[in-house]
Symmetry: C2
DNA sequence: ATTCATTTTTTTGGTCCAACAAATAGGCGA
DNA sequence: TCGCCTATTTGTTGGACCAAAAAAATGAAT
């Protein structure tokens, strides 16, 4: 059965500058982003319904849906039945998820991750030595305290990460914190391995205490040494090649 | 017109453990990933057609398309008209794109990015001082040479980034390189601003030369100082608050 | 007859629509 | 106040058509 109404595509002027033909879906992604910017929408605000978006931007509902899937994968929106698409603050989560999407752990990446951490955590030392307040260090100690008598390996690994995360966050650099958190899944996995032995857990607790003490003493050499040693310690659990 | 064949959904056992109902699209994403794993497909290999995937996994073509949009957003596949979906090695590119998706440049993030770079680039110093070969340094100089007499601001910024990227890559840490590259769009934008003035471009070239010299001399103190100063130099072009 | 260029056919992604299923917000009544 | 009902909206499917590109068929020239 032939439809009476035939749709005519690509009637737009086809800018002289060639470029690859932009798909309707990609165009919609941009248009929806613009819409959000125009209206100054924030997290929690909701977008028009799929049908409305389609009508507004001259696109079919399936096309709108495909665009929304992309926005969803990017963590920009979250779609709930009946409610529609609402602006979501899950952007960073999406990045993290994507980052760990096919990053299987290999012995080599163990070394890489620890090397990365060493550069970061030693690197923030200068700033921490100068600017860490007593409250900051108390907070570190509070986090560290949750490490002892924690029978759950998974939970202990999480606390361990929280300690190092807090350390990095104290540098007050958003990019730094974001990048460090990106490796969270990998780091936690390394920690999980280390935490399976009980004595190791106590060693971790003590190493953290020493690091805090170095910060209190504003001893940057000791800090750098202790952090390096602590991270190398974690490697001993990796079955070497 | 009522369809003769009525589809019956959710006939699968509905695992006792509640959990949120998995959408058909998400299920398809997993199934396609499994398919790739099963067949041991690598980059460049192509997936079945959308219609085939739909038939194989009992899903409509639109559903398959939505799943493919997600895989595409993740950089797992690349869809070419007529060819179909082919496995893509653009995973990292996708991460980078996603990372820069809503990271608008603000004066604050300028500072953040430069601070992050300082920690990284200074941090790799120890390794470079010890392990950089003459060939490595020659390569750096070759890249740097492309900086002079380059009238195109965009191209000069790219070369500038390539220099710093090579520096970081020389550390031989994949995680480090990946994370550094993540900031590429932001860094290049900073550089673009700096390159708009001609004298700044020459200054950049000279600063790079000094850094290379410090590495040749295996002078770690000079290296750290020069890198820090070079990165701070870039900040002077940011219109302060 | 073979080879190359051209035309036609087929295949496949891109887009849209109509229909129905499922979920739920919001109204309505007990 | 509580529970039910309805209307609306997303979730999913099948079908139709278009455009582009590959594949196949055709034909001409050597």
């Amino acid at each position: 059965m032939v439809l009476d109404e035939v749709r005519h595509f690509s009637s737009e002027g086809e800018a002289s500058e060639g470029g690859q033909r932009i798909s309707a879906v990609d165009r919609l992604v941009e248009q929806i982003r613009d819409l959000v910017r125009e209206r100054g929408l924030g997290i929690g605000d909701q977008l028009p319904t799929e049908r409305e978006l389609g009508e507004r931007f001259q696109a079919g509902r399936n096309t709108v849906r495909e665009a929304l899937q992309i926005l969803k994968a990017y963590g920009i929106v979250e779609v709930r039945p009946k409610i529609g698409a609402v602006l979501s603050g899950q952007h960073e989560v999406a990045i993290r998820k994507l980052f760990a999407f096919q990053n299987e752990i290999s012995p080599a990446s163990f070394l890489d991750v620890q090397g990365f951490r060493r550069i970061i955590e030693v690197g923030v030392g200068d700033h921490l030595i100068l600017n860490a307040t007593a409250e900051d260090l108390d907070r570190l100690e509070a986090i560290n305290a949750a490490l002892i008598d924690n029978p759950d390996v998974e939970e202990a690994a999480r606390v361990d990460f929280a300690f190092h995360e807090a350390l990095v966050d104290m540098a007050g650099n958003k990019m730094l914190s974001t990048n460090y958190r990106l490796l969270q899944p990998l780091i936690v996995q390394i920690m999980r391995v280390g935490k399976s032995q009980r004595p190791a857990q106590v060693d971790t607790y003590r190493a953290h205490l020493e690091i805090i003490r170095a910060l209190r003493d504003r001893d940057r050499v000791a800090y750098a040494y202790l952090v390096s040693r602590h991270l190398e310690y974690g490697l001993q659990f990796v079955s070497g090649s």
